[in-house]
Structure formats: structure tokens, C-alpha cells
């Protein structure tokens, strides 16, 4: 069936929206039984309490840049910035 212009536009907007905001399904209310959330909250807690060395934080930040393959340098700089701010609480 041929889609109308408005249907095509609506489909495209939904696709772009889903690319920008992907929901993460977690186990338990607020993810209390989800190992992924526990790992990242544990890492953040250790970083904020100063128990991770600067080298360790830098390594986590650097690795996070390429967890999802990202060829663009600007995107990697952005990931670097937001992960560093998240770990150090400099928002």
C-alpha cells in the first residue's frame, strides 16, 4: 500500500526519535536487580568518592568512546565529555 506524504513524514519522525532516545529495559523497579545498572552506579560511586585513580577514570572515559563503533571524531569528543562529567560530578 502506498503511504501518503503525512504518513511517510510521521514514520520518519518516529524513526529519528527512536534513534535519539532508546529505552533500556531493566530488571526490577528502577533496575535494582539489573547488573548493568549496578556496575555503572558502582563505578560512578567509586569515582566520586575518589577511590578510582585519575588514570583509571581516563581509561573508562577513553573506552566508553568506542563501546559503540563511532567513526566521527566530534561524537567521540562529546562522549568523552559527558562520561567524564558523569563520573566526576562536574555537571
Amino acid at each position: 500500500m502506498v503511504m501518503s506524504d503525512s504518513e511517510r513524514q510521521k514514520k520518519r519522525r518516529e524513526k529519528l526519535k527512536s534513534e535519539s532516545q532508546k529505552s533500556i529495559f531493566v530488571r526490577g523497579d528502577g533496575g535494582e536487580f539489573d547488573e548493568r545498572i549496578r556496575v555503572y552506579l558502582a563505578v560512578q560511586k567509586l569515582a566520586k568518592e575518589g577511590m578510582l585513580t585519575k588514570e583509571c577514570i581516563d581509561l573508562i572515559v577513553k573506552t566508553s568512546e568506542t563501546v559503540f563503533p563511532t567513526p566521527e571524531l566530534s561524537t567521540r569528543k562529546y562522549i568523552n565529555k559527558i562520561v567524564y562529567e558523569y563520573l566526576t560530578g562536574n555537571n
Partner: protein
């Protein structure tokens, strides 16, 4: 940065790592319009002129400018930045494929402006420009066509960024009455002297059409060109010490400050 939950994957990453100077021009473009909300926001009042503290708001405002006000209310945000760039490409009659990445559509817009500018150049000016771009073979003047320069632009890297910067600078002059305030490499200043006139004429011609098209494009076209320039800048390799863009990826020392380049 959490001034707004509105996020666009093609726009926010670029603006949120840009410097205050980089964002200054974008703020000037959007705040020029009567219907803007940016200057009424608490974060703007608190941090201005440190624009990097509210880069997400600037991104939201740019997208809002690209959509109909009523449609924005219904959608909850402006159109996607990709859609906005495609609209600008349509307006400037730049050929593009809407399924391609944002960078390809932006490049198509810049190539259209560049082609028009190079068509305005004399053979002597073309030869000078090619020499500045590092022509070692002394190509015959009569054989230099626009496609040579477009080929250099498409190759990306330093020359591509410089051509984009000159275009963005001329657009800023046309819209705001003053050029960009950016720290630039010495090579760029030589280029600018050759390209400023032809690109200025090409942009004047384009601007007449934009004036007739309506007020929204007066904001979206300059914003799209400026963001394209910032994306190229941020995707280029730069010196860690003085932040000068490196013309060559094999360089061992920065040509501006002499600092050793680290991988």
C-alpha cells in the same frame, strides 16, 4: 547539560563540545528573531556570554526556528535537525539524498555555494587559489575547472574545513554585518583574501533569494552553514596545545606553535 530534555543526535553533540566563541555567532543568529525564547531562559540570563553552559538550549532554539510554531507545539519540539538541513538544501537547490548522513547533506549545500563562487572567479584567481592549496604541478590555467576544487573539498580534512570556514565567515558578514571571531591559522588568512570576493558575490546572490523566501530561512540557512563549519572543525585533528587545525595527519610537530603532536 540538562536545561532541556530535547535532544537531537545530529546537533547536540556538536554544539555541546563547541567553545563559547564558536556558539557566539549561533546565539546572534537566533536572538535576531522576534519569536525566539532563548534570551528569556533562566540559564541564558545566568551564564551569558558563557554560551557553552546552555548549548542544549541553543540546539533546541535552532530546531524550533526550523518548524512551524503551531506544529512545534503539537510535536513538543522542533523538527529533527536532519529534516531542517534537508529543507535548507531544497531552498538552495542543492542536490541531496535524504537517507544519507547529515554530513553528506551539509556538504552538498556547501558545494553548491562553492561552485557558484568559483564560477565567479577569474582564471588568475583560480590559479592563485590552487597554488595556495599546494599545487606542485603548475596545472595549465585553462584546464582548471570547478570540479577540481569540488574534488579537493570532497576529499575532506584541512582544505575542506578552510573552504567551509570562509563560507561561514562570509554568511556571518552578510547577516550580522561582522565576520566570525575565530583564532585561525596563518594559511587561512591568505586563502581568505582570494576567496572572500567570489564567495561574497555568491552569497549576495543567494541572499536575495532567501529574502524573498521568508523570515524563517534567514535564521535556518546561516545556522546550518555555521553548524556544518563547526562539525568539520571538530572532526579535524587539532594541536593539543594551541588547538590549531593540522593540515596533515602525518605531522610530527604543530606548524603554529611547534608542540610535538601526540597520537
Amino acid at each position: 547539560m540538562k536545561n532541556t530534555p530535547v535532544f537531537d543526535k545530529d546537533l547536540n553533540p556538536v554544539l555541546e563540545i563547541a567553545t563559547d566563541e564558536d556558539l557566539e555567532t549561533l546565539v546572534a543568529y537566533v536572538s535576531d528573531k522576534m519569536s525566539e525564547d532563548l534570551t528569556a531562559h533562566a540559564a541564558y540570563k545566568e551564564y551569558e556570554p558563557k554560551h557553552s553552559n546552555y548549548a542544549d538550549l541553543i540546539a533546541k532554539e535552532i530546531r524550533d526556528m526550523g518548524g512551524n510554531s503551531f506544529a512545534n507545539v503539537w510535536r513538543g519540539e522542533g523538527p529533527s535537525y536532519h529534516e531542517m538541513v534537508c529543507d535548507v538544501a531544497d531552498k538552495l537547490k542543492a542536490p541531496y539524498n535524504k537517507n544519507k548522513a547529515i554530513e553528506d547533506v551539509e556538504n552538498s549545500i556547501l558545494e553548491t555555494i562553492l561552485s557558484s563562487a568559483i564560477d565567479h572567479m577569474s582564471e588568475e584567481e583560480k590559479k592563485n587559489l590552487l597554488n595556495e592549496m599546494g599545487d606542485k604541478n603548475n596545472i595549465n590555467v585553462s584546464s582548471i575547472s570547478t570540479s577540481v576544487f569540488i574534488g579537493i573539498f570532497r576529499a575532506g580534512g584541512f582544505y575542506s574545513y578552510q573552504l567551509t570556514l570562509i563560507i561561514a565567515n562570509q554568511v556571518a558578514r552578510a547577516v550580522l554585518g561582522k565576520g566570525l571571531q575565530l583564532a585561525t591559522n596563518a594559511a587561512l588568512m591568505r586563502w581568505a583574501s582570494i576567496l572572500t570576493g567570489p564567495i561574497g558575490w555568491a552569497i549576495s546572490g543567494m541572499w536575495t533569494a532567501v529574502d524573498l523566501a521568508g523570515p524563517a530561512y534567514k535564521v535556518t540557512i546561516p545556522c546550518v552553514i555555521h553548524v556544518a563549519m563547526l562539525r568539520k572543525k571538530l572532526n579535524s585533528l587539532s594541536c593539543g596545545n594551541c588547538e590549531a587545525i593540522l593540515p596533515d595527519t602525518t605531522m610530527k610537530f604543530c606548524p603554529e606553535c611547534g608542540e610535538a603532536i601526540t597520537a
